[in-house]
Symmetry: D2
Subunit: 333 residues, 4 copies
């Protein structure tokens, strides 16, 4: 739509789009409104919209993802995530333990990462574990502990959802859903979080092409939930010196192709704590909008992912070092 088109013109265009058999996805901006049209392969009938009042142009988008694309929204999205802006000048820092193990452990880490500069607390209550015999998370009790940590620290909560059936219990507690790498193409789960309108951190699958990852984001966006944050966390390659190969190339590729904010998780991406700080610095230098970092006060005894967790003092150092890079990039932590 043309800048400052009146609401009535916008409604007329939406109405017409639906008459033509498409679904309309309006995104209302301060200056300008963009309306995405999805749902039929043949896009030619949409050209007639150009004759309607207020319509600036009807632009066909050829990429298989539409709502996630830069063609659909040329400017980077700055999302309001529970009161914290993600995608803007200030970097988003998500930190915390892999698993919520106990009240004491979680509160201690929450205070430490808050002090070091994080705005978000991560911590798994429901854990997807490779082995059925490994610790599977505290479940509902873990959610209560996270809620208490939020109350004490003001940190927003990011926690992983592994099944549609867990959503009702989680939706009133968490601030941001995380979809883990193994569920990147779990479409029923993507549909379900799409319907909640809660912000979602969507991690890349370990063998997911960037193109397929954006299609997975499109599942969430297509339900009208535009609060999607992508998170690169390492792909599977032949190299075994790192647990995965953190693919920082994905950052500039995504910056060119999508308006969605991009985080990087160097903890899972490298799998070894020594490599987390250098790769965190590199992520920000590549243009990422934030970091997700695993922190634990006693890594050797962590219930999961000890080898890649930083002690709180090492995390504080990481933030201090990464801040220098952020400033060089014209950004803030």
């Amino acid at each position: 739509m043309k800048p400052h088109s009146p609401a009535r013109q916008i409604d007329d265009v939406i109405h017409r789009i639906e008459e033509l058999g498409y679904r309309a996805h309006p995104i209302y901006g301060v200056e300008r409104t963009v309306i995405g049209c999805v749902g039929r392969e043949d896009k030619s009938p949409l050209s007639q919209l150009e004759s309607m009042p207020g319509v600036e142009a009807a632009i066909p988008i050829l990429k298989p993802y539409k709502l996630a694309s830069r063609e659909f929204r040329p400017e980077p999205s700055v999302l309001d995530v529970a009161g914290v802006a993600v995608g803007g000048e200030r970097l988003a820092i998500v930190a915390g333990p892999c698993s919520v193990e106990s009240r004491a452990q979680t509160l201690e880490i929450a205070h430490a990462v808050r002090e070091a500069g994080a705005q978000f607390l991560r911590g798994g209550a429901f854990k997807p574990r490779t082995s059925p015999y490994a610790f599977q998370g505290l479940g509902a009790e873990g959610l209560e502990i996270l809620a208490e940590a939020r109350e004490q620290t003001g940190l927003k909560l990011v926690t992983e959802v592994v099944g549609v059936e867990d959503l009702p219990a989680m939706v009133d507690v968490v601030d941001v859903f995380q979809i883990g790498a193994r569920n990147c193409q779990n479409y029923p789960l993507l549909n379900a979080v799409g319907q909640t309108r809660k912000p979602v951190v969507l991690k890349r699958g370990m063998a997911t092409l960037i193109r397929e990852w954006l299609m997975a984001a499109e599942y969430i966006l297509a339900h009208g939930n535009y609060n999607v944050i992508l998170c690169e966390r390492g792909i599977r390659t032949f190299e075994t010196a790192t647990r995965f190969t953190l693919d920082l190339n994905a950052v500039p590729v995504l910056k060119e192709t999508t308006h969605l904010p991009v985080l990087v998780d160097p903890s899972h991406g490298t799998g070894q704590w020594q490599f987390v700080e250098p790769m965190a610095r590199a992520a920000i230098a590549a243009g990422a909008d934030g970091l997700m970092i695993e922190v634990h006060q006693d890594p050797p005894n962590a219930a999961s992912d000890g080898a890649q967790s930083l002690k709180p003092e090492k995390f504080a150092r990481l933030i201090a070092e990464t801040r220098k890079i952020a400033l060089a990039m014209g950004r803030q932590i």
Copy 2:
């Protein structure tokens, strides 16, 4: 247990295992019963079982998967899958369209693959698609069509389940659940099919190590559902001449490490119909227990996966050519 141990001794041992804090998984064979013990890291208390009547040996299994391992069950499992033996001398042939598109299409293909030698009909009613705008399957209507095809042909039904919430509607219709590559590590779904006791075809994820795949199988087995069939369907590599890289090496690796039957899906593995027959022959020569093949009467107009689907006459030729290899391997189609 020693061969031909009386049921009472077996029950006593199971009782003692549970007193010690483990879960007991008895597998009753014609000659001999094996009891798996899982649930605690420390296995040393189990050595005391050796003093009980009927116990032959208490053998610690070091691999992370237990119930799936050859140590647990040294002989290959021959599963009774809705009356069809899978894993024995006769190869299991699963064939059908990627998606159930219509009654006429499905019935025509079902009759054709039955005639050519298949015992199982595959066909998706709920489809996991990379794009949210692509055909997502007929859902419940698709299940009805499949049920009619079974009635007319006697073929057993294999169909993919993509969400826990779809299980109730499916469990009374399908003969075998398929877990697709994207859900190979969807643990809530694995737990849910584990509880049904229905046979399950578990496809390998596109970046899943063989070891992790067996751990995924272990999720199903740990619920007491021992009817698990593995299906290799191609992994992600740098090569683009084929859609995926069908990893036939997995067949002998699995034959050495697990007792579970192994199918191969050369349709998804190669992504091009010309390569399906040679790779089907190769799969059987490598020692696979069966094949899963996509068949469609009109590949260019298939709603999904047309490029890799065989016409019924090409499928019949594939069976004829593969039968020669099967005979050379001392097996039957």
Copy 3:
């Protein structure tokens, strides 16, 4: 050229091709001669050849490889390799130790593989080793031992060349040059073996696309050396259960795109002796023209590649089992 065109017409066409600024590559067949034209991007001037006597058609070939392509030569090439036909009904079996370690070792293995059915003896005199501190081969002394083995057994010799500077010493001794995986894109070496006219086994590099592999073959072919045999030996992927991932998909892909014969090396491809026989059977079922197998009388004490070497009796069993598959495929060992 049209079938049975006289030599004079062929010479005229070659002459004209060179006047136009291309290099001509005639391949003289029993019925028909094909002349490849390479060397300039712009192929349009060649259409004028169609007006010359004896010319059937001037067909532009769009793939980046030309002489290796099926468009250039639609029928599979059956090469005369030191008197042994490779690419025809009878499979080519190349077997022997990884390294020539001593006279006694080499002669014993040579006799054993001859008896089991091999026509070619492999064995490295110059070894490319990952570590500069590992055994690097016996060099010239190794060549003498190989020559003696040939005299005693009649086996043809296949041995790896690792440097242009070793060629003069090797060219009068060996029957077939092998270019190893690490040298697949070593263009000076490819040019040098191209100039010798000796048959060449060109192994696939561990990260070489099939398309790039055919371009590497094209380097040899472009010198007029048409005796090129391709050998799949495993690619680098994320899976670590096997040393490499033997990519049997390459066999049908190559059969569709090139006329060159294709061998498979399951010893390097899997890296473990237990998997060599099943993958050898699978290779033949996929359509390969032969096998390259490592054999050693004392694998635990082999100077290199012990884990993947078969004892002579296991090799004999492999041949017996693979022969059944070959017969099912209408071929001979």
Copy 4:
């Protein structure tokens, strides 16, 4: 040796090492001399060296690479490369065209990259090309053009050597040899450049494990040529959004395991000019000691690698932006 051991003691120890059957590799530092001992598997006799005057300790190094390891030399090496320090505070910038195409082209680019801050001019005279029909470089004429560019600009010359036979013509002209990705494990070539004592930039192969790459470096080091610079340039993975996957994880992994300087080549690593600047910044933030960048005044008409080449003004911007990151890291450009 102990700090400030007299030359006589050092000579005695070297003599004794050779008597014991090892090769001695002394590295003379300002404060301290380290003597590497290689050549026999059994290292136990070396413990007797500890009783000699001046010997501080005899430390067994277990990694397969020795001279390249941090155990051998705990401090990062700062190499003197034709008068330019590489590995120290100031970053090494290597820039220039993929191929030397003409005198005018090369001189123009050389002046431009000199002005923007490069110390080294790259440019291929002998080109390894995937296709035998592609431009293969100007050869000796290219070397002359490079020498003139050096004379005019003072830039040091880095150029690729593709064959042992080209070394004599190159050794008096070039300042630094480059071993390309395809030759990373071309051992005769590594041996040959090892004997020259000229500095060598050793690029990682596209499927080379970091461990194998260090073994390749060891081939050069084992000849006493300690002037080896590693260069990460992207590995082969399943992702196709970038030409290769630039593996920045390799930077911190190498910084932990080797004392050799590490460059990064984001031009080949990403294959697209838009991604070169962000990945150059990220490389420096990850801890790299310098960059190798392709620059061309007319990318669309470059004889090779146009898509990934930067125009001189974009290269100047890259340097300006990367300088900010370098300063944040406490380094200089």
